[in-house]
């Protein structure tokens, strides 16, 4: 449906984001994930033809030349609702008014979308003075009222408080799946991306570094910065001792580790990536199917939300997460001796970046 090749998005005269290749299929939900200031908003504005771009942008197989015509087939929801000083209904109907739709029809369509987003009862109120959540719902209704072929969402939830955000994400996910709208969403929140997206693109330092399924991005990040951003806290330099058809044997400090993933081609010193959630902590060594088990000392315990983050010393540093309840029940404390285990299928091997 939408294809971008070597797309460069500009802000003023400055090139701020680049994507070598993006293919968006009809009905697909794509999330562009990345830290603040990474250039993901610029990239999405480039895809929406709202900022100057270089490179190739094709819509339904044809190059985007008539920008006004293209913009009339897509819609954008920004971080802030950007409502005009008029009634909620008039705001929701604005895109239709700009398309010359009759007042009766546009009011009816606007009211349908407002009701779908749960703010139908506010139609007669002035848009000035709505709460943040209500205003963002009106903004989304305004975008959906024009029945866009692609909906671009530029961090639409980031200015909202957590409960409002969670409800709105759930409602929007329902509406988008019900309507089958093709969506490109920008976010720096991994949970938001996982809630709404079929595929995830990671943008770091103005570059779309990886674009793949959520499983691939979170399980097999293609570089250490992506790994760090998607929550892979353990990125550890390792040495390949030997590789067989079934296992790769690695050494880290004095420990031997076995993984099922083959080593990166021609790289005997890859980076071993393990998510903290994939490490199992026990008080004593037990007979399990996990091929990797190490005695470890708890260096630090840090509560993070509902979990506890353990900083371990296994001869090499390792981060593990356990639930707070587990930490309590196991009476874990700093300087305690534990056993850290993970399966050979868990780690992902990255080629080491050499400078």
């Amino acid at each position: 449906m939408l294809e971008a090749r070597e797309l460069v998005a500009y802000r003023g005269e400055r090139a701020v984001a680049h994507a070598a290749r993006i293919d968006l299929a009809e009905g697909e939900h794509l999330a562009l994930l990345g830290p603040n200031g990474a250039g993901k908003s610029s990239l999405v504005l480039g895809l929406a033809a709202l900022v100057r771009t270089d490179g190739e942008l094709r819509y339904r197989g044809e190059p985007v030349r008539d920008v006004d015509a293209y913009r009339r087939r897509v819609a954008v929801v920004f971080q802030r609702p950007l409502l005009l000083d008029r009634s909620v209904r008039e705001n929701a109907a604005l895109g239709l008014a700009l398309r010359g739709v009759s007042r009766r029809e546009r009011d009816a369509r606007a009211e349908t979308e407002l009701s779908r987003l749960g703010v139908g009862q506010l139609a007669d109120r002035s848009a000035i003075g709505l709460s943040g959540g209500e205003a963002q719902r009106v903004s989304i209704a305004r975008a959906l009222a024009i029945d866009p072929e692609i909906l671009f969402l530029d961090e639409p939830f980031s200015a909202l408080d957590a409960p409002t955000r969670e409800t709105l994400i759930a409602d929007l996910a329902h509406v988008l799946r019900e309507r089958g709208v093709t969506t490109v969403m920008v976010t720096h929140d991994r949970d938001e991306a996982l809630s709404l997206a079929d595929r995830i693109g990671v943008v770091i330092d103005g570059e779309l570094r990886q674009l793949d399924t959520a499983e691939a991005v979170f399980g097999m990040p293609t570089d250490p910065e992506i790994a760090a951003f998607v929550g892979v806290e353990n990125v550890i330099p390792a040495h390949v001792e030997r590789a067989t058809d079934e296992l790769t044997h690695l050494r880290i400090a004095d420990q031997r580790i076995e993984v099922t993933e083959p080593p990166p081609k021609g790289d005997d010193f890859p980076l071993l990536c393990i998510r903290p959630d994939d490490i199992v902590i026990a008080r004593e060594a037990a007979s399990t199917s996990a091929r990797n088990s190490f005695p470890a000392r708890i260096v630090r315990l840090e509560p993070i939300g509902r979990r506890t983050r353990l900083v371990l010393d296994c001869g090499f540093p390792l981060i593990a997460h356990v639930t707070r309840q587990s930490a309590r029940e196991m009476e874990l404390a700093e300087d305690d001796r534990v056993v850290a285990s993970f399966k050979a299928t868990v780690p992902h091997l990255l080629p080491r970046i050499r400078h």
Partner: protein
Amino acid sequence: MDLILQGVSGAIAKLAAFDPDVLDAAVASIVVSGSATALAVATGVPLGALVGLTRFRGRRLLLSLVNTGMGLPPVVVGLFVVVFLWRSGALGDLDWYCTRQGMVIAQYFLAAPTVVGLTAIALQSADPLLRMQLLSLGANRWQAAWLLIRESRLLVLGAVIAGFGAVISEVGASQMVGCNVKGDTRILTTAITLETSKGEFGSAFALAFILLGIIFVLTAVTTFAQQGRNARST
């Protein structure tokens, strides 16, 4: 102090009697300054939108000229307009020297830079993402500009009132171009100058009260509009 009391009581008497000279001057002021401001708005708001919302070569130079124009001395404007309207001048055939039309032209050049400059500032201070949002909703550039002007209407209204305020209270250009003809081109400010020079403080105060009244009404309109908006946003 006696002079002031004498002047104020004289003014009240003239206002109560609907003195025709005073009323003529008030009507002439409103007609001339209103026409000049209307022309300034018709040309200045679109130009202000162009300067405020777009980037083009020469924009900074244009902004500098507009800013300079906002501080133009009325007598200098008067001088140039008189030179153009003088019988042997470039526009002498129009025969507009010592007419209200000539005064409207002079006041237009005083009001327009204020309207252009303040409109540009009003639109520049609008949220840049709002324009992008309007474009993304399918607005073309002109529709987006019009919606932004409507959205910034209070600031644009402020620009219009500043322009009107600048010309309704100026004296130099109107005196030079209009020649202060009684019952025709004599406006409030030129009449106040004349009556004061004659020592007719009653008439001068009456004219001054009307001028102050007009300025008060203008200020009240913007204040009420602003407060009305604030009340709706809370």
